[in-house]
């Protein structure tokens, strides 16, 4: 007892030595008090990680060090999800528009959106690879159990078919011929089939992982992404000058209603894994994406239907622009949520989400501090 007491003097000198000031001496005493009471002292520039003693326990995991690895995809991947989704839906729209004898301009524009997206998508995918020169290694095997492998074949099928359909479609503008028409129909049909895959598989891709926020939403993610892609595809075609198409408006409305319902469902579900969809930066982006793809364009499209001739077109353009932005934000938000989810060590360890003592949230007085205070007979 005496040894401990001598190392911690009972009282600081009442009179400060000449080289110090009373305020600085008081600060030292304050630091000592804080250390004794809370077991740790915080201050500018000091990050006492793990102090005073690191806590590894069944309740706190391994010092709160994340168990899972964060996704290592760069910015290209959410943009790829966005471009692929919009282009995939556009390919489906182009095909059905052509089949039902829709306006040539609408078909042309839909084919353009599909072709641009179909070329952009593989470029983004390859750019994200650690070794882009080895992209073709993904075509040496086909693994049905790997959504990444399935996806690579969807992308590889979608690119050439959508591009060929657009090329034939463009050439037909100059010289109409039965051969070009056949090429456009055939490649268009295949691009629509691959397009359905493009618009949906990315949801499966992130859902079939160990990341809790993704795999716990696997039941709805692919459908959610398909609706997001549909909204973006429709809107992109509208923005190219097809604001008068009733069919596109109906599709845009359907996508907005679907995304609104999805948003309501996500807001109503409160499970620990879904926290990153509501909290933090990922939460803000996901919610913004939801707002811009669901309720806002829905309101704008209804307003457009009710508005007069002049405003109607403007409102539809606004709805379309909002949907395109919303789709992009939705993809970025979900990918970022995956990062936050991987960092949350509590989920894979099945720890209580709340009231888990982490290093950052130590109780006011640690066991150690309390014990030493009692041992020293201090009650201040």
């Amino acid at each position: 007892m005496s040894a401990k007491e001598s190392s911690l003097p009972e009282r600081l000198p009442t009179e400060a030595p000449e080289f110090s000031e009373p305020s600085r001496e008081r600060r030292l005493e304050e630091v000592r008090r804080q250390a004794l009471h809370t077991g740790r002292v915080t201050g500018a520039g000091i990050r006492p990680a793990g102090s005073p003693f690191p806590i590894a326990s069944p309740e706190a995991g391994y010092y709160g060090i994340p168990l899972l690895k964060e996704p290592q995809w760069s910015w290209e991947i959410p943009v790829y999800f966005f471009a692929g989704g919009a282009a995939g839906a556009a390919a489906v729209i182009a095909e059905f528009a052509q089949m039902t004898g829709s306006k040539t301009e609408l078909v042309n524009d839909a084919r353009t959106v599909a072709a641009i997206g179909s070329l952009l998508a593989p470029a983004l995918l390859v750019a994200d690879l650690g070794m882009p020169s080895r992209f073709l290694n993904m075509l040496r095997v086909f693994k049905v159990q790997s959504p990444m492998s399935v996806g690579v074949y969807i992308v590889s099928g979608f690119g050439p078919t959508a591009t060929l359909a657009k090329m034939a479609n463009y050439l037909r503008g100059n010289h109409d011929g039965i051969l070009l028409k056949m090429i456009e129909s055939a490649s268009g049909l295949f691009s629509a089939l691959f397009g359905l895959g493009m618009a949906t598989y990315t949801g499966v891709l992130i859902g079939v992982t160990a990341i809790p926020v993704w795999n716990e939403n696997i039941d709805s993610l692919p459908t959610h992404f398909a609706l997001s892609g549909l909204g973006a595809g429709v809107s992109a075609i509208e923005l190219m000058g097809n604001e008068d198409s009733r069919a596109l408006n109906m599709l845009g409305l359907a996508a907005a209603v679907g995304e609104t319902l999805e948003g309501i469902k996500l807001e109503m579900t409160s499970k620990p894994a879904n926290e990153p969809l509501k909290k933090g930066v990922s939460g803000v982006i996901t919610r913004l994406g939801g707002l811009l793809s669901g309720p806002l364009p829905l309101a704008l499209r209804i307003a457009s239907a009710l508005a007069g001739e002049g405003n109607s077109k403007q409102l539809r353009r606004a709805a379309a622009a909002s949907t395109v932005a919303g789709s992009l934000f939705t993809r970025i938000g979900w990918v970022r949520a995956g990062h936050a989810s991987a960092r949350d060590y509590r989920l894979p360890l099945q720890l209580a989400t709340k009231s888990t003592p982490t290093v950052a949230q130590l109780p006011n007085e640690s066991k150690f501090a309390k014990a030493s205070r009692q041992a020293l007979g201090r009650h201040d």
Binding site: A49, L67, Q72, P132, K143, M148, V208, A210, T223, L349
Partner: protein, 262 residues
């Protein structure tokens, strides 16, 4: 085909010397992983990753009142455990790999072929243990090779070879499972009743080839109680994708038919 080989890492024998980390890095030529202080006991590595294939965990408990932090007095407050790739029976990384770079070796280990991997990093999010990681400078994904080269030559993996206390045992999986049971029984007999085996055979991972003997709940060693191979979500995922594709098809068809092609 050779018998399935395995590691048994016994935390009750580990002295935290990190010889396994050094041996692994030296044999495999793995780059340094930075010199950072974590503040978490003597663990300044944090977790296994692309440049750390063996990682010694220092599981330090808050001291009980009246006892020094690391003193010999009971209750013990400091255990160590050398973490490693689990070489799962059903491996998430292996199933996810779109290039076929990740393969199952004749020893039952999970091996990344560095000449095939193109760094898509899908395996990173498919691993339920957070083991495999992409090296950003190199571009490819790396993890423990189970010393495939040494095993082929009939040698013991570098970490197990260097371990001075036989905390890391290498042998046939079946033998080591038996050994783990024997060891836990022995510890229990000696009054260490919190010793247990970590080998999740009852989940979709179907057991691992790097089993552990730990003291207390494996959660404090960052070992997940219920690791699952992500492919179990595939069926639900593709069902939802089919619904999405159906909505897209039916919706578009209806819209254009209803809109009279306008």
């Amino acid at each position: 085909m050779s018998a399935t080989t395995a590691f048994l890492t016994d935390s009750t024998l580990c002295i935290g010397c990190k010889a396994c980390e050094v041996a692994c890095k030296e044999w495999n030529g793995v780059a340094e992983d930075g010199l950072n202080w974590t503040g978490f006991s003597y663990d300044n590595t944090g977790a296994v990753g692309h440049s750390t294939w063996r990682h010694v965990k220092f599981v330090e408990h808050p001291p009980e009142p009246g006892y020094g932090g690391n003193s010999g007095e009971a209750p013990a407050s400091w255990t160590f455990s050398s973490d490693v790739c689990k070489h799962c029976e059903n491996a998430g990384c292996l199933e996810a790999c779109p290039t076929g770079s990740i393969v199952r070796t004749e020893f039952g280990g999970v091996y990344v072929q560095p000449d095939i991997c193109n760094g898509c990093s899908y395996c990173v999010v498919a691993c339920p243990f957070g083991v495999i990681q992409r090296n950003k400078e190199d571009g490819r994904a790396f993890k423990c090779t189970f010393c495939y080269d040494r095993q082929k030559a009939g040698l013991t993996p570098a970490c197990a070879h260097a371990c001075p206390t036989e905390s890391i045992k290498f042998g046939k999986l079946d033998d080591l499972r038996e050994e783990a049971n024997r060891r836990v029984r022995e510890l229990n007999d000696r009054g260490i009743d919190d010793a247990m085996i970590y080998d999740p055979t009852d989940t979709s991972v179907g057991g691992i080839h790097a089993i552990f003997v730990t003291r207390g709940d494996p959660k404090q060693y960052n070992l997940p109680p219920k690791p699952e191979i992500p492919t179990i979500y595939a069926k639900q995922g593709w069902r939802s994708a089919a619904i999405g594709a159906g909505i897209l098809t039916a919706g578009t068809l209806l819209a254009f038919l209803g809109g009279n092609g306008r």
